[in-house]
Symmetry: C3
Subunit: 341 residues, 3 copies
Amino acid sequence: MTVREIAALTGAEPRNGALLDHVISNVAPLDLAGPSDVSFIEQPKYADSLAETHAGACLMTERFESGAPRGLIVLRTKEPYRAFIAVQRKLFPESMRPVSMFGADGVAPGAIVHSSARLESGVTVDPGAVIGPDVRIGAGTVIGANAAIGAGVQIGRDCAIGSNCSVTHSLIGDRVIIHPGCCIGQDGFGYIPGKAGLDKVPQIGRVIIQDDVEIGAGTTIDRGGIRDTFIGEGTKIDNLCQIAHNCRIGRHCIIVAQSGLSGSVTLEDYVVLGGSVGVIDHITIGKGAKLAARSSVMRNVPPGAQWGGIGPAKPLKQAFREVVILERLARRADDPEKQGD
Amino acid sequence: MTVREIAALTGAEPRNGALLDHVISNVAPLDLAGPSDVSFIEQPKYADSLAETHAGACLMTERFESGAPRGLIVLRTKEPYRAFIAVQRKLFPESMRPVSMFGADGVAPGAIVHSSARLESGVTVDPGAVIGPDVRIGAGTVIGANAAIGAGVQIGRDCAIGSNCSVTHSLIGDRVIIHPGCCIGQDGFGYIPGKAGLDKVPQIGRVIIQDDVEIGAGTTIDRGGIRDTFIGEGTKIDNLCQIAHNCRIGRHCIIVAQSGLSGSVTLEDYVVLGGSVGVIDHITIGKGAKLAARSSVMRNVPPGAQWGGIGPAKPLKQAFREVVILERLARRADDPEKQGD
Amino acid sequence: MTVREIAALTGAEPRNGALLDHVISNVAPLDLAGPSDVSFIEQPKYADSLAETHAGACLMTERFESGAPRGLIVLRTKEPYRAFIAVQRKLFPESMRPVSMFGADGVAPGAIVHSSARLESGVTVDPGAVIGPDVRIGAGTVIGANAAIGAGVQIGRDCAIGSNCSVTHSLIGDRVIIHPGCCIGQDGFGYIPGKAGLDKVPQIGRVIIQDDVEIGAGTTIDRGGIRDTFIGEGTKIDNLCQIAHNCRIGRHCIIVAQSGLSGSVTLEDYVVLGGSVGVIDHITIGKGAKLAARSSVMRNVPPGAQWGGIGPAKPLKQAFREVVILERLARRADDPEKQGD
């Protein structure tokens, strides 16, 4: 891409004298960039890196221009990071979705596809993948090496199912990305006390995953007990999360790594859970609510709320006061002169 | 099943005029149920769903009967949920244990079984599964697609080992269910400082899993260091739990998702760990003790105790007071008029 | 090994009259040991076990000698555990690194190796493993059953990659151990708000793993966004940890199970994270710092610090005061007579 093309793509404005025909072939952070790389700066803490960068071009807001080294092609934009991502997406279209790890096309040798499975044309199945009876897979989808797709699963078009995933009892939309090592559709965790220990509660629901969902490596999603477990359109789930049976996750939610939802939790649309958030069962988190990393959600969260803190999650302002007051009390307890303070 | 058969199975009493020959073919929650479904109600918060349900029949306690819509077959019982589960177990016997995801019988094509392994008759091995030397597998057991069973592992009868599981150095009883993606029997995490970094401490124990244990997807259980790691009869472990080397878990325990036991932890019988509980090493949790979700267990827990709370786990009553007092102090700190309160 | 050889290996001093030709073939804890086992004692709480042990020999410090039963061969040493591990490492050399679970040698039947992959002599590939194009694997390395190694991955010598691992976009040094079920090299979790939901941020970095790293079962390590994710020499990571994109982990760190590092976290050399520690993004933890189990790291940690506690991690001394003061306040709040205390 030339600088001219980058400017056209992003709407960034080349500073006077910029070499519009200079060719950019890669992206890099300021400290690692070379002459054929474009970089970006948005935060003052990287000003030193800007001064010393060897990047060919850099996207930045006006305020950083005076700090640009001589010879750097400056591209002025109000949203440097967003423009940078746009260039990156253009330069690396194949990074938008995992591809066959075997460089394969069609059903690779060593893949086992049941005779009753129906694959549209343009499906790639990597070696060692196992596709069970009555599975349906849409055009353009890639099934990774040693993935196991159980009987009756339906997967839409242009999906990527990672290597070593296990998927059963699931209906999956289009453009869904499931990273390696996920387990989706197995029994939920349900028992009742019986005569000689715990009796298993049948788990007869499914997992429904809508279009454009992305699910991180090693995440587990149990199928529903008597309802379905549901993941709404565009929702992104990070690595090693646990979604229990009957959860209902809305559209465009973000669930950061190692978070866990107990059974029958509802997340309305646009909810954000920071890393390692835990939610007890039958809770509803309202539309657009944000939970800080490590929150323990023990009661319903209203729409738009920002909660977190020590112990049961609560409004962040209150949570912050608790942290401060506890620190203050501990300091006083340690200092006899301040006891009466 | 007819309503008459459901009544006979559960001991529920059909209300006057119930159509005893009405056929029930499925179960459903009140809001999703149709005429051929049986449902149940046990909690007042679902009274609205009861009033509007299209279910054919509903198991309930006497108190809900007046709220049942006309035409609903009412089955009176003191334990509606338990009766409902009994019907479900009768209608879906195959849901009691995962089956071959390939609909296979015997050793499927694409499975690799070492010549020295001994499989009883009636063992199912899904495609891609690898069974190592000297493995023993009992009748009726299903080994999932792409599971890997290492040298010398013994698995009893009527077990289900999920797809993409890795099992080594383990002795497994009868009717054990291990869901997909579990890693069982690998090295525990042990090192001592050496001359040039950390030296590995040999891990020469095994994993012993007794009858009727169930283990959730993605859970990891390390083999013992110089003892064995032990999981007692009937214990149920949820998804993404970590059981470190030398742990000794008693019978009929419940360990909810994302909990972690450090090395050499002992759980006596009937212990319950809520979700995401962490236990430091060499702790003993007494018989029947219950730990609230997210507890951090830093010292031994007496039998029968109910512990949890902020920071190191402690009796729940005390833990609750701490939460309340901290909230109160933070409120006061924010309100000058209450400072002297 | 004879007792004489154990003494020579460890520098332990046999007590007068010890049978130097007695043969030791195994190691065991005091309570399980028999005549051909060597055991050790280092902590007074095991004194009863010492008195009753049937071990053939026992490594101990001088203080325990008087408690040794008649007939036990006593080996005096200042570091009994270290000596015990030395014996164990000598007796079980094969426990230093996982071996083929199929007892295989070379490329096993059922393994799929791309024609452009280059394996040095002495590489073992277990059945079902899939090796993609342009992969390089060094001599002595074992690739476990059903592992999937993606295009262009380079793995050094004498490594062990566990069964059902997925490895892509990675460069791996020598003597690296990766336990089963790990996912390494997949996309990091990066999005920006777009017109119709979240747009994916390309992840074009790699994972670099230096020599002598060990990674526990089920751990996930995302590749870098525009930098590389980096794991320094000799670092040991336990099961079910999450390492996000762009993290930079130093040499000889210890990361205990279920810990999670958000994006762009830096761990300097010799950092220790206890179990289930969480670190928010762009944090630096200084050289040799230790974080207690379950810490939530919300700001940079200075070198050598020992932090932990309730809420955001802080120096342990301060954290401990907070726990104590909160307990005290809760007690007082419950006891009207102490309100004015």
